[in-house]
């Protein structure tokens, strides 16, 4: 739900993050831009290697050598995060800006209790006593639906199941009431019934805290449930950016279209799955012109030479493609939704 607030909470402009490896420069994120408004959920969708996780780490300024943000702006509440010092970022991280990671087992410290790890953030950002932090931690554990929190608070991550650990991560992330949460594939490693629980929990908490969320995933089903606006990424760039209904009912980029028609789904009888031929390109050897062109069934000669820009083709709908008319025709022919 997009609120009245005109200024975006987070505005990423032309973000460029490169990795300087001994084999060459990997342009993991190459000119990415989007806006997140208060109370909104942005879905960042793409497959492995498209740059979505690197985007998240760039926003959080958690990049490690050899990665470096080399260009662009990240405006959070109007201030450019890229200009901030480490000390300033530490005040923001965990408090206003929080992140949930994909693998709860590796994101949690195995030798510290769950309670300690949640209280850590609280004690860092608020001038409260240890007892008060513990009380708040118990409340948080209850809120994220962990049964017997008085017992769990003293347990270690390995004593909890995957779903529980993810709840702990959510508790940690939400402990200081952040206004923007970034979730990097938070449910990919979980069973589908647990995933449903976690997504349900996240929606409830966000509604309650009036927070915003950037949801990073490759799962279009999850995105359809939770997101308001969606950015599709491929090879370090955004190829399509629109609201949810537009993406699912009238996409204009061949990659989006290919994804939607190639995944099996419960709501449709599919005679045959569409196929996106080829493989995700090697980031050290990106193709000339449009990065998607070798796999694209709509490609023309222009696509092999010139890389299209991200253009607003209708209000709120941006696409990076030379042949959107052809795609639009194909979309009309193919039934995307409904038997």
């Amino acid at each position: 739900m997009i609120t009245n607030n005109k200024e975006p909470l987070l505005e990423v402009k032309d973000l460029k993050t490169y990795f300087f490896t001994e084999n060459g420069i990997v342009k993991a994120v190459d000119g990415v831009g989007f806006k997140v408004y208060q109370g909104e959920i942005l879905g960042l969708v793409g497959e492995s290697g498209c740059g979505k996780s690197v985007t998240a780490f760039s926003i959080m300024k958690l990049l490690d050598y050899p990665g470096k943000t080399v260009g662009g702006e990240i405006l959070f509440k109007g201030e450019n995060l890229l200009r901030k010092t480490d000390a300033e970022m530490r005040k923001i991280r965990g408090k206003d800006l929080a992140m949930i990671f994909q693998e709860p087992m590796t994101a949690l410290n195995p030798v510290l209790t769950v309670g300690f790890q949640i209280s850590e953030a609280l004690l860092m950002h608020f001038p409260i006593s240890k007892d008060e932090a513990r009380k708040k931690t118990l409340e948080l554990l209850k809120k994220v639906g962990i049964p017997m929190p008085e017992q769990r608070i003293n347990e270690y991550p390995h004593q909890l199941s995957g779903g529980m650990r993810q709840r702990v991560m959510i508790a940690m992330a939400m402990s200081c009431d952040p206004i923007l949460l970034i979730a990097d594939e938070p449910t990919t490693a979980l069973d589908v019934t647990i995933q449903a629980q976690i997504l349900d929990l996240m929606s409830t908490l966000l509604r309650e805290f009036k927070g915003s969320l950037i949801m990073i995933t490759h799962d279009l089903g999850v995105i359809a449930e939770i997101a308001d606006r969606i950015a599709i990424m491929y090879a370090g760039k955004i190829v399509e950016y629109a609201n949810k209904r537009t993406i699912f009912y009238s996409p204009l980029h061949p990659y989006t279209f290919g994804l939607l028609t190639s995944i099996p789904r419960l709501d449709l009888e599919m005679k045959r799955l569409n196929v996106i031929p080829g493989i995700v390109p090697n980031p050290l050897h990106f193709p000339e012109g449009c990065k998607f062109n070798p796999r694209c069934s709509f490609r023309t000669d222009r696509c092999k030479e010139e890389e299209p820009q991200l253009i607003e083709v209708e209000e709120g709908h941006l696409v990076r493609c030379w042949n959107i008319d052809k795609v639009a025709q194909e979309v009309k022919k193919d039934l995307l939704v409904g038997v």
Binding site: A224, P264, R272
Partner: protein, 324 residues
Amino acid sequence: MADSLLKVDHLVKYFPIRKGVFRRTVGWVKAVDDVSFEVYEGETLGLVGESGCGKTTTALTILRLEEPTKGQVIFNGRDIIKMKKAEMRKERKKMQIIFQDPYSSLDPRMKIKDIIAEGILTHNLLNHRERYKRVGELLEKVGIPAENMDSFPHEFSGGQRQRIGIARALALEPKIIMCDEAVSALDVSIRSQIINLLKDLQKEFNLTYLFIAHDLSVIKYISDRVVVMYLGKIVEIANKKELFTNTMHPYTQALISAVPVPNPDYKKERIILQGDVPSPANPPTGCRFHPRCSKVMKICSEIEPKLIEIKEKHFCACHLYNEK
């Protein structure tokens, strides 16, 4: 009704839990606990369930890559559990498997032509020249140009490696292939390539698939019949259409409702299960699903429901239907 190609009969696989200096067995992980089903020639039987349900262990036990604790596996009329090692080795030609992880399922130090030819070599089926000719044919069949046969696995992408794994499984001309989460580790845009390939190969070679997955959407697309497992037991078996239109077991219903659908307007019954999946080392009494079931009755915690044919070819293990 046609005779089944594969019949799994009261299959049990327990893993011992050992503790202490002398490694005493203090308990058992009941990974597969009295599982019975049949697979008919030419069909794709989907085996679906979440982690810990025992689906992969079932497949490995059927192939005797794990030795079963109890039970029979009748393949082509003969119980392969009772076979001696040498005889079983010969039988393996007809039952093959494709693994989930394209990265660890191929020996990184072998050329792919040798990986694919290994089975043929082991069973001495062809001479040297014929062997590699066949490797070339198999590679073309799975969509990899044969001139790459001298390359190593790390030179290929995940999807291509999975194709190589498929070629390896086909090399021995099996009758049945277990697909153990064969597409789960692949990128979304690659999955449809492999799924379509598997379907085409099935038609061409009259293969039978036991397709294991946790993704119900894939199961729905590719299966003819579906077996749903929970915590080592089968809870429901039905034809694909029947399973999704007349779902019986509460777990199956919850599973179906939990699957996210790429459709913003999709309305579904929201069944959110409470709690976590219990440990297979300590399963609940009676019906294993009862602690999380929204329709639980008193009898469910006491007596384990049997898998009964409720409608024609539709089996369910639930007390809700037993009364009838």
